[in-house]
């Protein structure tokens, strides 16, 4: 065994870097497939009703059109997932739903033909407006939807300060730059290969196999490189099934790439929220009662219970009296999906804004207020934290940022034409792990092959898993050949919930251990359950500091400086970890100031459904971002001691920006995004 230098922790360059900077990495649409045809979908233009006629004659008459499918001639599917029952009935459940698909020899012809398909509807009244006053708000399915601990009313009765506020966050779209795309290739009627852009090939494989009545092994999903996802590529969406259906119908390989506009109705979005937070505190700012009630939306088609935005409120701060709840409105809108820190992103905006308001009411520095309310054990589960670095993050962050001296009073600092303010917020994100299986094979000469159906959506999994394997095997990273992104590899959970590296890395470490113990040339092992799950509460933490400059006349908001300090256990790759945290913080800035999917209630569609109108942060929106982390040793989360870093960066950031805007202007914006009109209207 060689004594290779350990590589975990080092700022190793991405092993897939050269492929990506030369354009050689192949994303889903780009795999060369002989004789491939092109599919383009036709989408509903009403939000609710029935299709009464589909005229495909003009489309079919075009040279090069190979087929047109709609609900009357589409093959029957077996799936129970209503979102995946594509072209299965005449019912329209939302605006922008597939109602037909055209397959043609070229993308130009397919696009032309799709525009010639005429669909007539009988429209029914639709219901698309989320409100906290609806009488039909329902308890979403699932566990832990509500919580009620201690005596909130008694806690409030003891309080000397109460902050009772409502915050809202808009719908937002994931918008990875690589559009969702699938290539489907059938061999006979019972073997299907998909090149697909997703966060977990096994997820897609299982759903597609189910839809076509196949065994999982009869479907192979290949996805080595994924051009961003952020949640929208975690679950199977209708276009994947539709592509396979189209390929079967025309008996040729078919590729389908959604247009950017189609991505606004077909691959999910972050649910808007309406959140009421009630914080009660004594003279010293110690919380005597905490309430957080959230209203979300789902589609009539199906439920989604990921965005439990008040869940983090159960563990952030100390206090014996606490109540949280979630209610959903079922609307005639596209199904939402998960989006980077689903729930935590929205919930932390409300809670951390309310903490800032409380700090001002109490006349206590907002960093100090958070430190005073630091819990000893997890208030939610009662368990000790496996590690909790929040206070250290706040202290180190304040130091790095130059938090003090700071006037508590807002609207105090004018530099030239800029009103200057600073804000802070705290972050937490669960450090979980899931199932994964890895196979390691000795290839001779001190070289090893590692196989696992992990997914690198830009997180750095190609690199970090190679590093973990190299250290576990005590070889150099060049001695490890990693294979990921293929459902033919050992099953592993998808990339999501900041659990990828924790799960996949654990499986690799376990497989290495087994290889050693059995002195074998090949070993397969599972990540297994975490034995400490019932003993410790496991979270990553962070503290976000932001400086904003607000134009005194136009109220344009600029963010010249952000500092984030995080407690994420052991950092496995200093380079890619920093990038993930930078990305998350930039998402928080973008969420605070720019992102909003605007609903037109008349039609039930999204008005700003492209990248010119749906604003994401661009290079000029981002200035200095300083990312750091504290030393944190956590032996309980996984054998690497690492917590996921994909989502913690966005948690709290939008609140830190909003708090800084308040500090600069004296205007508290409780409805994201913070646009000029909201700041001007308040004057």
């Amino acid at each position: 065994m060689s004594t290779a230098q350990p590589v975990v922790g080092a700022p190793v360059d991405r092993v897939d870097g050269p492929l990506k900077v030369t354009g050689a990495a192949r994303y889903a649409y780009e795999h060369p497939v002989r004789d491939v045809a092109y599919a383009v979908g036709v989408l509903s233009t009403i939000a609710k009703g029935r299709i009464v006629a589909v005229d495909v004659s003009a489309a079919r008459a075009l040279d090069g059109v190979l087929g047109v499918l709609w609900h009357e001639n589409a093959p029957r599917l077996q799936t129970d997932d209503a979102e995946l029952q594509v072209l299965q009935s005449d019912a329209v459940a939302f605006c922008g739903q597939f109602v037909a698909v055209v397959v043609a020899a070229t993308p130009q012809i397919a696009r032309h033909a799709a525009a010639l398909v005429e669909v007539r509807y009988v429209q029914e009244p639709h219901d698309v407006v989320l409100s906290a006053d609806r009488s039909d708000l329902d308890v979403p399915p699932g566990e832990d939807v509500d919580s009620d601990d201690g005596d909130v009313e008694a806690g409030r009765a003891q309080a000397s300060v109460i902050v009772d506020r409502t915050y809202t966050t808009p719908a937002e779209h994931n918008n990875p730059i690589e559009a969702h795309a699938t290539i489907a290739i059938w061999e006979g009627v019972d073997r299907l290969t998909l090149y697909d852009s997703n966060q977990g090939s096994h997820n897609i494989r299982d759903d597609v196999a189910d839809a076509f009545g196949l065994e999982g092994e009869q479907v192979r999903v290949i996805s080595p490189y994924v051009g961003g996802a952020f949640g929208s590529k975690l679950f199977t969406h209708a276009h994947v099934v539709l592509t396979a259906m189209a390929a079967r119908a025309v008996q040729r390989p078919v590729k389908l790439e959604l247009t950017r506009r189609q991505m606004f109705s077909l691959v999910g979005y972050r649910t808007p929220t309406i959140q009421r937070v009630n914080l009660a505190a004594d003279d010293d700012g110690r919380l005597t009662a905490i309430e957080h009630h959230v209203v979300l939306q789902v589609s009539m088609l199906k439920d989604l219970t990921e965005d439990l935005a008040a869940r983090p409120t159960r563990m952030m701060y100390a206090g014996p009296n606490r109540r949280t709840s979630h209610r959903v409105a079922r609307l005639d809108l596209p199904p939402p999906t998960i989006m980077r820190a689903p729930g935590e992103a929205q919930g932390s905006f409300a809670l951390e804004s309310a903490m800032d308001e409380l700090a001002i009411e109490c006349g206590i520095d907002p960093v100090e207020l958070r430190i005073r309310n630091e819990p000893g054990t997890d208030p939610d589960s009662g368990l000790p934290f496996s590690s909790r670095g929040l206070v250290e993050c706040l202290k180190q962050g304040a130091e790095r940022f130059g938090w003090q001296p700071r006037d508590v009073a807002p609207h105090g600092r004018l530099e030239g034409r800029w009103l200057v303010g600073t804000g802070v917020a705290a972050s937490a994100y669960p450090a979980g792990r899931g199932q994964a299986t890895a196979t390691i094979r000795a290839a001779g000469g001190g070289r090893y092959h590692v196989q696992i159906d992990a997914s690198d959506i830009g997180t750095g999994a190609w690199t970090v898993l190679t590093q973990i394997a190299a250290d576990a095997l005590e070889v150099g990273i060049d001695d490890v050949t990693l294979e990921i992104g293929d459902s033919a590899l050992p099953r592993a959970r998808a990339a999501g919930g900041s659990q990828g590296t924790a799960s996949w890395g654990t499986a690799i470490v376990h497989a290495t251990r087994k290889l050693r113990e059995e002195n074998a040339s090949e070993a397969t092992a599972d990540a297994g359950d975490n034995p400490y799950t019932d003993q410790y509460a496991m979270y990553a933490h962070g503290a976000q500091f932001v400086e904003v400059r607000v134009d005194a006349d136009t109220r344009e908001v600029r963010v010249p400086r952000m500092v984030g300090v995080f407690a994420v256990g052991r950092v496995l790759n200093a380079k890619t970890t920093r990038s993930q945290l930078l990305g998350g913080m930039t998402w928080g800035l973008s969420m605070a100031l720019l992102e909003e999917s605007v609903l037109d209630a008349r039609y039930g569609d999204c008005v700003n459904d492209d990248l010119a109108e749906y604003h994401v942060a661009v290079n000029a929106d981002v200035a200095e971002i300083d990312v750091g982390w504290i030393d944190e040793d956590d032996p309980y989360v996984n054998p690497m001691g690492a917590k996921g870093v994909g989502e913690i960066g966005i948690v709290g950031t939008a609140a830190a920006v909003a708090n800084a805007v308040h500090h600069a202007t004296g205007v508290r914006v409780r409805d994201l995004p913070i646009t000029l009109d909201k700041l001007l209207r308040a004057d």
Partner: protein, 170 residues
């Protein structure tokens, strides 16, 4: 629709194609020539993922028709490296981790290549204080402004600026 013959000169190699006249330069590169390094992100000139250089200038290839570029000198990401030898911009993008998923990266790099040339020629940007100057200093603000036509949803902007700055020598 009518088919049209067009000769495209890409990375120094001439390709004779018969294309549907509606074919964009982007689709000709990706679907017909197999040069999939140039990416499609929005197909309407809003994201910059399809940025390539035509006659040395950066353009969104999704907004260009293939037939309009007969004989033009086209440079795509595949034309930057020499064998395994990465172009200096490709090297600094890897070094500074100026990408995550990598999908916008070819467009970012092509854009950066043109940016360096534009600054060299003294072309001002919206943030250049002195519009009459011919000596552009590529500081962070100039780089950010000039790279804002290329969206990076992974948000590697801070690292993209650092990478370009290393070559800009500012």
């Amino acid at each position: 629709m009518s088919d049209v013959d067009v000769a495209l000169r890409v990375n120094g190699t001439e390709h004779d194609l018969t294309v549907d006249a509606r074919t964009t330069l982007l689709d000709a590169l990706r679907d017909r020539l197999g040069l999939t390094g140039t990416k499609k992100g929005c197909d309407r000139g809003q994201c910059g993922a399809c940025t390539i250089l035509v006659e040395g200038r950066r353009i969104n290839s999704c907004l260009a028709l293939a037939v309009a570029h007969q004989g033009a000198e086209i440079l795509t990401i595949e034309g930057l490296a020499t064998g395994d030898d990465l172009h200096p911009l490709q090297r600094v993008f890897v070094k500074h981790d100026a990408f995550q998923c990598g999908y916008c990266t070819p467009g970012q790099i092509c854009s950066a290549l043109a940016l360096l040339d534009e600054a060299e020629r003294g072309w001002p940007s919206a943030v250049t204080e002195d519009l009459a100057t011919t000596a552009i200093t590529l500081d962070d603000e100039e780089i950010r402004e000039r790279m804002s036509g290329n969206l990076c949803r992974c948000a590697a902007y801070v690292n993209i600026v650092a990478a370009i700055r290393e070559l800009a020598g500012a």
